[in-house]
Symmetry: C2
Subunit: 122 residues, 2 copies
DNA sequence: CCGGATCCCGTATGATACTG
DNA sequence: CAGTATCATACGGGATCCGG
């Protein structure tokens, strides 16, 4: 097992904890994943792709991702307005790590869910 | 970029989303990380290792991790009681993926925090 | 010493209506 | 179309007390 030390991992202000915390909200990973499917998407396309996200949370999530440099937002001064979202290079470099987590989850989900049910029977 | 499809990723009941959501709460990853540092730890050792976790949240986090088969809990019927926690094979197999995320965060945190500040000035 | 039970608060999230 | 504004709510998480 890799036991690489993380400096200050136990400091509540640890930037790594901070970054991981911001990526692990309810929607961020799913929005990033969705944007990997196409090079750029409009706001309404994202809403359509993620049926159960509210308009507000999509806006909030996109703004946070933009602040952290994961998403590039492009406004076209047209009527009606058009706004396109695309992943940045930073997000592209992050995605393989997320994807390896997803693949692990896919391989293990059946056993995990099975374990949970066992506990409930006890 | 890897565009491997996730079946039902947009189903709110998607097990992968469920599992990722449960792993991405405030403490789970840090507790798993802490348990990689030693083969087994007592409750109070974990509290000591993670100074800012409350007793309740450590209990809740450990129970959830146990339910999902990430942690093995061993109670020794002694007085005073002794309870030891250790990672399961499942958690050991998960850790490299978490660690790759941590390493990515370590490499990118300075730039991300710098970007955030830029946005605030605007 | 371990950790369960209870109470409480702030933030994250959601529903709805409105606007440039 | 792409949001804002407002109001409502659920849940995570902390403080404290209690019990085996």
């Amino acid at each position: 097992m890799d036991r690489t030390m993380i400096l200050d991992a136990y400091d509540p202000q640890c930037p790594i904890r901070n970054i991981l915390a911001r990526m692990s909200d309810k929607w961020s990973l799913l929005v990033i994943y969705t944007l990997t499917q196409t090079d750029k998407m409009r706001f309404r396309d994202l809403r359509h792709a993620i049926p159960d996200i509210s308009q507000k949370m999509l806006t909030v999530t996109l703004r946070t991702l933009e602040e952290d440099g994961f998403v590039k937002r492009t406004i076209y001064p047209e009527v009606p307005p058009r706004v396109e979202y695309a992943l940045t290079e930073r997000a592209v470099s992050l995605f393989p790590h997320i994807n390896s987590l997803i693949i692990w989850a896919k391989e293990n989900m059946d056993n995990i869910i099975s374990d949970r049910k066992k506990d409930k029977i006890k």
